[in-house]
């Protein structure tokens, strides 16, 4: 069982309470100017987007099998059993491979700092481990963002679609995307119309590199025997040639 969030864009009224709740939880500044920004960045870890008359939210998807955590060379990113993907800034060396690897382009970097960190939503790991809701879910006045167990939220999402088939696009975003995410979306229209990526692979991304990486021990052992053997044979030939006084 792991924690997750369900965002129902048909309920969202675009009040941006989630944004201010998030800013408060991270101790980040929040004002009208920042509220007007519709992209996530190092100083804004969730953003409400306007798509015509509909709204959508961007935040870290806290993937079930996160690409960011698999590529991090120092293990600064971890998928917790609780659900959130957490970040240890003290380990991070700033290679930004997590940013390159994320299929949702979520991680942001503090580009202008001399000692920068990566920044992303961690689904309020601390609050959730104390049994509290995420700051955004708590701040939402209409229940567009709710927080709970992933299995239960999935059941809830499917129930909403079944009860109001005309009101929803008949899919839950995040079930299979990138191997499954901890943030699930409901929408009235196809997902690309509310700015969600539909070209995201349906397999867990860490597999793509692990398929090659797991061959390393085989390559090393086979390579040692092969190269050692070639050396042994070619060296022996050279020695024999020398003894016989022939030119090779």
């Amino acid at each position: 069982m792991s924690r997750a969030m369900l965002y129902d864009s048909t309920l969202c009224i675009g009040c941006k309470s989630c944004e201010s709740g998030c800013a408060e939880r991270w101790g980040l500044p929040y004002n009208d100017k920042i509220a007007a920004e519709e992209t996530i960045s190092a100083h804004k870890l969730t953003a409400v987007e306007t798509h015509g008359e509909r709204y959508s939210r961007r935040l870290c998807m806290n993937c079930e099998q996160p690409a960011c955590a698999s590529v991090c060379p120092v293990g600064a990113l971890q998928k917790t059993a609780l659900g959130p993907v957490i970040y240890d800034a003290d380990k991070c060396m700033g290679c930004r491979y997590c940013m390159q690897a994320c299929p949702f382009q979520v991680p942001s970097y503090e580009w202008d700092k001399r000692l920068p960190k990566m920044r992303k939503c961690d689904m309020c790991y601390e609050r959730q481990s104390q049994g509290k809701q995420t700051a955004c879910a708590e701040a939402c006045p209409v229940g567009a963002t709710v927080c709970g167990e992933r299995d239960e939220l999935l059941v809830e999402a499917r129930k909403r679609i079944a009860e109001k088939p005309g009101g929803y696009y008949n899919k839950v975003y995040g079930v299979k995307e990138a191997g499954g995410t901890s943030v699930l979306y409901l929408s009235a229209v196809p997902f690309e119309q509310i700015g969600l990526r539909t070209n995201v692979p349906m397999e867990a991304l860490p597999e793509t590199t692990w398929r090659v990486l797991e061959l390393v021990p085989d390559i090393v052992s086979t390579g040692t025997v092969l190269l050692g053997g070639i050396w042994w044979i070619s060296n022996r030939r050279a020695e024999v040639a020398k003894k016989e006084g022939r030119r090779r």
Binding site: V71, P206, T208
Partner: protein
Amino acid sequence: MTPQFPRLQFPKLQFPKLTVWRVIFAAIMLSGLYATYLRVMYGLGGSTNLSDKFPWGLWIGFDVMCGVGLAAGGFTLVAMVHIFNIEAYKPVLRPAILTAFLGYTLVTVGLLYDLGRPDRLWHPLVMWNPHSVMFEVAWCVTLYSTVLFLEFLPMVFEKFGLHKPLEWIHKISVPLMILGVLLSTLHQSSLGTLFLIVPQKLYALWYTPILPVLFWVSAIAVGLAMTIFESWHSSRAFGRALELPLLASIGRVLAVVLSVYLWIRFLDLSHRHVFGLLGLNRTETWLFGLEIVLMAIPTVLLFQARVRMRPTALYACAVMVVFAFITNRLNVGITGLEAGSGTHYIPKWSEVAVTLSIVAGGFAIFHFVAQNFPVFEAAHEASHVELEAQEEDPVAV
């Protein structure tokens, strides 16, 4: 060899003669210095055009990805000379090892610019994540740099007449060389594996599950091309005679490696059914074309003996291979990712300045070391009988 008192030739302290190249060199170094100031004082934001959508730029795409590849001559020639025991290639082994050692050192310098926290460069050695390709690359590069340092040491020991350590290092040389070849195989290919995690981002002409194989084979090719490139330049710089028969024979090997590479590339594109993409009038199509043409021309030319035996033509082929390689790495590391990232990236002047400084620095250090250490004298070590044999043997050409 009679023990001689070691003497290093530093440039004389009087004001150096002004030449065009020296002025260009000084200009590059000064701009690099100012760019370094910007990097230190204003961070990556003040010195690069990188963004959240495009987190890797020229410093990764060129300094690291091309840098590591251009240094691949080290492992290719070590394998040929010491493992396959083809003594004929010995005269170009040391310059290749020197290039590799310098190359990896400069890659590290490039990384110090690119990492957000360069003071934590050592973290992957202590904080492990075996699932990360970058972790594997970090370990391989660290270990291989150590191996290269040990392979380079004999030149220093010879220079200073230190026979004891020289003997000692000769004793461990075979396992050392095998280790070097293995580490190189791993990380040269892993630089391709790095991009397997972005199937939705990297343009389909480049994204393939066999990227690691393509990276490895092209690294071998460019390693050979760089060997020809270096020998040609150093023969001009130091007034040495060019080892033409030897280089021609390397050109022959290069032709075969390039053919293998192009064939794998063709098979890959056809198995993935992406030839249709070549009909699209997109930047990616043209850059892909450039890469393939730059690779195909020298392949065809190098199969002809009269091209291999003409120093200028041979050199031109090597240069084309180097450029084809650089185009490929930049395509995979930068341009091929632009459309998928939904943004454009053009490096800031300071990114270019740092990169040029690193390249210029590399040339200068190579020149200094080659002037002062027995880099190009390794031929003396090979028995004269063998050298004569080479000259007489038409097969080696």
